[in-house]
């Protein structure tokens, strides 16, 4: 057992401050365990969102010593024994209380992405897809919607005014996934360019760095999607073609 000080943000949309809680940390514990100890013994009303405590649901996102992380997958032995550990809510989303933020922005964006629409099935009523054709899509579908990528993206973290015009990395992953889905028939490139604002992204890769599922958000989703958009809308030959056709 090592004694550690947990410095936890307490407050709501009107303001707040950090409070310090001394706790005994035992072997193998993660930050979420220690937050639960604080909650059970010292601050019964400490607000924290969590579900599975196994890195599968993406509920317990927070900023631990300034770094966006899942609290349930952050081992306490990552830090110096006995060092003070600061836990703050995600900055990009409006604060509800303590470590809980209002992430409804993400659910609103999700509604704007047109649904998957498959091509007709084979004669036997089912589909054939080769594994190599879905490997990339499966990588994207590992996303647990922890929204850490959204939280860390400068386009909205530093400029909340961009939120209405920018879907964020999580939804570029979703758009890329649908774009590469062997069965889907809907074209969402115009959406990616215009309403989702993929052009705002300047590929700093912050999203990729914080992804707990190791999805290569920038390289595998955003860049290919940007290329597809550029090919269609910014290719000079296509541009001339569109002008000639009066489109």
């Amino acid at each position: 057992m090592v004694r550690t000080i947990m410095r936890v943000f307490r407050g709501d949309s009107t303001g707040g401050q950090y409070e310090e809680y001394p706790v005994e940390v035992s072997e193998g514990q993660v930050v979420l365990d220690v937050i639960h100890t604080v909650q059970a013994e010292q601050a019964l009303d400490l607000a924290v969102r969590w579900n599975c405590k196994a890195g599968k649901c993406g509920s317990c996102s927070a900023e631990v010593n300034g770094k966006p992380r899942l609290m349930c997958m952050t081992r306490m032995n990552l830090f110096e024994p006995g060092a003070t550990i600061t836990v703050a809510p995600m900055k990009t989303f409006p604060l509800i209380r303590d470590l809980v933020t209002d992430v409804s922005f993400n659910y609103e964006v999700a509604k704007t992405i047109p649904a998957f629409k498959p091509r007709p099935p084979e004669a036997d009523g089912t589909y054939r897809m080769m594994q190599e054709d879905i490997d990339r899509g499966q990588e994207f579908r590992k996303c647990i919607e922890c929204f850490l990528c959204q939280n860390v993206c400068h386009v909205i973290r530093d400029h909340p005014e961009n939120k209405p015009n920018f879907a964020g990395p999580r939804f570029f992953v979703r758009l890329a996934e649908l774009d590469m889905h062997p069965l889907d028939t809907v074209d969402r490139l115009e959406l990616a360019r215009k309403d989702a604002g993929i052009g705002y992204c300047n590929i700093t890769k912050c999203c990729t760095e914080v992804c707990p599922e190791d999805i290569h958000i920038t390289d595998n989703a955003i860049i290919p999607l940007k290329e597809r958009v550029a090919d269609r809308y910014y290719d000079p030959l296509r541009w001339i073609g569109r002008k000639l056709k009066g489109k």
Binding site: G28, Y127, I144
Partner: protein, 600 residues
């Protein structure tokens, strides 16, 4: 008279895991105005943690597979206590439900010819589980969620239902609170579907998420519905055991399905010593035959490492008790000596990641330490198999909170398929029921006010309040120690005494502060349902004087033919007391009976 935020719907679905989402999608598709309420954010429900796959006799890997074989496996796995009609519908409809997910965008792992790949799992005769690596639950919940978003369903996230409301005998809606603001919310609905999952948070070592506080079981019970088979609790044989803070986190059965074997501290594959006569004819009894089975499944019998979960969990428990356990009180699960690192990382990425990150163990190089963890409750709300309606008109239940489908023990992979098959049926049943009602049943204002008063009472106790976290921890200890894998009368009696003590203390459970996102307050309310299901489990377990599936008594170690013919039924008496009775199982028709008489 206080004015509460009130919404009117045809169908109210409580719970947004696989069953709740599928029910809401179906009810909405039938034209019912549908609300979906969940305690967490959408997409975070316990379904997201399911790993191994969805059992469905697609016949993609073994074309001999069909619904009859799946039905037979399910019934035998459940030690014949299952509601035969549910098991039949489940086996017949699961393939369509899997294909439907693909139609909605799911990307399952593929066979070489591009069809949905299927993996081996315990108790299933053929490789049967459609899967995505070891994150099938995530694929399923995301697919349903993404489909539901576009189907006109109103979603109420982070909203907890405290009580169902009735108009006479019928359901008329539900009352609860917004977790974020603590404000009261009322639903006036013609039909209600419970899809709230399980009860794991009443146990100390569990694979279940925080939401599993027995809400649906308790809501139904308080509303007068019957619960059945509450004594049948599944301990998954393989949970993590070290370090202590991760104890109970699930290790998918897919590890054994994909080639992992269990060994004790002497290096012995002990499962060969635990083959019960019931499964002897279909299980390899030598290591040589079991080894051959991995490559030639037609001419060899299955490895006992893939016996149903109740058998494996009891075996591990016995090995550890006999002093042949691993250093941290489990046994060893080894896949590294059979499969390449590349194979393991591709098939079991979450397991690889989870052990690496949480336990500093590389499962591609060394064995895991695993032990039983409370995983699932087979018991639940008694429902009509075809419509999913409970014994209360207008109240439906699907998924883990419904009883009957899995009998005394659930086979791995049969839960995700259960959620889809009976989620759809519950949505259909509820929409049809609502469509046949001319008017929405009335809300009972007096009952509403009473529930509100009770919901807010945790703030009334001041400094005399009991810490709700302490009560929960003590309850978890009691259930783990006295109502665990192996039970007996004296321990169950002691458990009931302790649970009554907690019930008394929980009246005074409370917190300081205000109602905005206050987890201590939420827990004070959740305790009531956790204690109700704990009492039901302990009492039902005391009643069933035999051992069967997920209910093992060391004072009645054998199955009894007489007890095999009845369900233990739990219902609330007129004075609010818990009544226990036994009632005969539904009788299986002769053509299905015949499936069990054929030689296999």
């Amino acid at each position: 008279m206080p004015d509460y935020e009130t919404h009117e719907y045809d169908v109210l679905v409580i719970g947004a895991g696989g069953a709740g989402l599928r029910a809401a999608i179906e009810a909405s598709a039938q034209g019912a105005r549908t609300a979906l309420v969940c305690k967490s954010l959408l997409g975070k429900a316990h379904t997201v943690m399911a790993e191994g796959g969805i059992a469905a006799a697609l016949g993609n890997v073994y074309e001999q597979d069909n619904w009859q074989v799946h039905f037979r496996d399910t019934m035998r796995g459940g030690k014949m206590l299952n509601n035969w009609r549910m098991a039949q519908l489940h086996a017949q409809e699961a393939p369509d439900r899997v294909h439907e997910l693909e139609n909605w965008g799911a990307l399952f792992d593929r066979t070489a010819d591009g069809r949905i790949l299927q993996r081996d799992f315990g108790g299933h005769r053929y490789a049967r589980l459609a899967h995505v690596g070891d994150r099938t639950g995530l694929e399923m919940i995301r697919t349903l969620q993404q489909h539901a978003v576009h189907n006109g369903i109103d979603v109420f996230m982070e909203c907890t239902i405290s009580r169902l409301l009735k108009d006479g005998d019928r359901v008329s809606g539900a009352i609860g609170y917004w977790r974020e603001s603590g404000k009261v919310i009322v639903f006036n609905a013609k039909a209600v579907v419970l899809a709230t999952g399980g009860v794991g948070k009443a146990f100390k070592i569990t694979s279940n998420s925080w939401e599993y506080t027995g809400d649906g079981h308790s809501l139904a019970y308080w509303a007068g519905a019957d619960l059945i088979d509450m004594e049948c609790v599944q301990f998954h044989p393989t949970g993590m055991v070290w370090p202590p803070s991760v104890r109970g986190i699930l290790v998918t059965e897919g590890v054994r399905g994909d080639g992992g074997t269990l060994t004790n501290s002497d290096g012995v594959q002990f499962m060969f010593n635990y083959i019960t006569p019931y499964f002897a004819s279909e299980t390899a009894d030598t290591i040589e035959e079991a080894e051959r089975w991995y490559d030639d499944k037609r001419n060899n019998r299955r490895t006992p490492n893939l016996l149903p979960r109740d058998e494996v969990a009891r075996a591990i428990n016995s090995e550890v008790k006999a002093g042949r356990g691993s250093p941290h009180g489990g046994v060893f699960l080894d896949i590294a000596s059979r499969r390449s690192a590349e194979y393991i990382r591709r098939r079991l990425p979450s397991m690889y990641h989870q052990f690496k990150q949480l336990a500093d163990v590389d499962i591609t190089a060394t064995a895991m330490e695993v032990g039983p963890t409370m995983h699932y409750i087979m018991g639940g709300v008694r429902v009509d198999a075809d419509t999913a309606q409970s014994t209360v008109p207008g109240l439906f239940a699907a998924g883990e909170c419904a009883g009957g489908m899995h009998g005394a023990n659930r086979l791995g992979g049969n839960s995700l398929s259960d959620l889809l098959v009976f989620g759809r049926r519950a949505g259909l049943g509820a929409a049809e029921y609502a469509g046949n009602l001319r008017a929405t049943p009335k809300l009972d204002q007096e009952a509403l006010d009473g529930v509100v008063k009770e919901m807010f009472s945790p703030f009334d106790h001041g400094s005399a309040a009991e810490n709700p976290y302490t009560i929960q921890h003590e309850l978890q200890d009691t259930m783990h120690t006295l109502v665990g894998i192996i039970r007996n009368k004296s321990e169950l009696d002691e458990a009931m005494v302790q649970v009554r003590g907690y019930q008394e203390r929980a009246q005074r459970a409370g917190v300081e502060g205000h109602r905005q996102y206050n987890p201590g307050w939420h827990l004070s309310i959740d305790l009531k349902s956790m204690l109700t299901v704990s009492e039901a489990i302990a009492r039902a377990a005391e009643t069933r004087k035999e051992s069967r599936g997920g209910h093992t008594r060391d004072d009645y170690p054998d199955p009894s033919p007489e007890w095999g013919k009845v369900n233990v039924v739990v219902r609330q008496g007129p004075g609010g007391d818990m009544r226990i009775s036994t009632e005969p199982l539904p009788q299986m028709p002769a053509d299905l009976q015949a499936l069990f008489e054929e030689a296999h």
